[in-house]
């Protein structure tokens, strides 16, 4: 047994312990933190399984963004779970036992851990992508070439999902500004500018911000070569700005990136993505067939297409995440 298996065992143990703790705690702040820990541990497991891109997303979205949004929600509600008296219900217990039994029964059909003869490993498509991606698309990171080119249509769907989610939250929470001025004290919200005695926090976050934003751009445009891409970059960019909002106040963040600009950026990203698709249609190719973007070298067309498409994803994700945060933050009425 090599060392990696031990690390796997330890991480899975932490994961299980976190899940149990998450289910048992009644303090919602602790639950938000534990869910962040759960995501971070999952991200570590993904790294061990060489799925760096997924780990990146999990760490940025699960541990970073979701925790912030949970905290934003907790600022709107109370931070303790409502205590419901425990009742013993026979049908509920039966359903739980039945579902659990079915899941355990189904899990016996799963391949053993790290089995080499699973469909995922043996399907001819896997070998096809791994072998031909370099010649057809010329992008070293196969994950990016699959995500943005081979399965570009699916990714367009995912971007539209992010777009739809942003619209839905806006409809539920309002446009990131209190709807009426009747609410007397919306300023008690979570991103109250932290008092000036928080000098350490201000100085260090100001020091870190340029690097966070630069790193987001690196992840965005280096996604063809290393792990990363539009989704991760968008979340990192948004979390940098959220850090700014948390430390310097919502108004400062709104002055830096106005909600009106965000409202335009969310659909803009989807439009860029779909626009690339229509451009390829007009140039005589199939929808999202980037080969036709460059008349001379199909690989160059692929590069350009992937760059544009990832840019669209990045813009939509950044704007959607920030907009979610703004809407949550602007509604806060103190807890």
């Amino acid at each position: 047994m090599n060392g990696f298996v031990w690390i796997d065992i330890v991480l899975f143990t932490i994961l299980a312990a976190t899940a149990v703790g998450l289910a048992r705690t009644r303090q919602l702040f602790a639950a938000a933190m534990l869910s962040g820990l759960f995501s971070l541990t999952s991200a570590c497991i993904f790294v061990l399984q060489d799925a760096v891109d997924v780990a990146f997303t999990e760490a940025a979205v699960g541990a970073g963004m979701t925790t912030v949004l949970f905290l934003g929600t907790l600022a709107l509600t109370r931070s303790r779970e409502k205590v419901t008296p425990p009742r013993r219900s026979i049908p509920a217990a039966l359903i739980a036992i039945f579902t659990g039994g079915v899941l355990i029964y189904a899990s016996t059909d799963m391949p053993p851990f790290a089995a080499a003869d699973t469909p995922v490993q043996q399907h001819p498509l896997t070998q096809r992508f791994l072998d031909d991606s370099m010649t057809e698309i010329g992008v070293p990171n196969v994950v990016t070439s699959v995500l943005a080119s081979y399965r570009g249509y699916d990714t367009l769907g995912e971007t539209v999902v992010v777009f739809t989610a942003a619209i839905a939250v806006l409809m539920l929470l309002g446009r990131g500004r209190p709807a009426t001025s009747a609410e007397p004290k919306p300023r008690e919200a979570l991103p109250q500018p932290i008092q000036h005695d928080q000098r350490v926090l201000r100085v260090v976050s100001k020091l870190m911000l340029p690097f966070i934003l630069l790193f987001a751009l690196y992840v965005q445009f280096h996604g063809d070569y290393g792990p990363g891409g539009g989704f991760q970059a968008g979340v990192i960019f948004a979390s940098g700005l959220i850090l700014y909002a948390l430390v310097f106040g919502l108004d400062a963040a709104r002055a830096a990136v106005s909600p009106a600009a965000l409202r335009r950026m969310v659909p803009l990203g989807v439009l860029i993505y779909a626009g690339v698709g229509f451009a390829t249609l007009l140039l005589g190719g199939a929808f999202l067939d980037y080969n036709v973007l460059d008349a001379h070298d199909p690989a160059h067309g692929q590069h350009l297409g992937i760059l544009l498409v990832e840019l669209g994803v990045g813009i939509t994700v950044t704007a959607a995440m920030l907009m979610l945060f703004y809407s949550f933050a602007a509604r806060g009425v103190g807890r």
Partner: protein, 114 residues
Amino acid sequence: MSPLEWISNLLLGAGLLCLFTGALGLYRLPDFYSRTHAASIIDTAAAALVVVGLALRSDSFATIVRLLLILLFMFFTSPTASHALAQAALQDGLRPWLAKRPRKTRARSGGAAE
């Protein structure tokens, strides 16, 4: 074993000791502030020692630079996080736990925490 590996082992061992101390403190110390203090040992001293220990073991220059950048990043963020945590608790009105001592010490330690 080369001297570099010895130093690396020494640093890694010291890092593990710090990790253990921090974990023990997190588990055993009585109140929020002292536990934060224990936790901050983990992500400053322990992390720094482990990262430097690993950097001494690495034979690729790029990896060493990356590890040092991580170290630099942690040097800025970890103490700030602990500081912000403690300050937030203080602003929220959480009093530090103090053993039975005269009132004078209490006032002084309150000022020190700020």
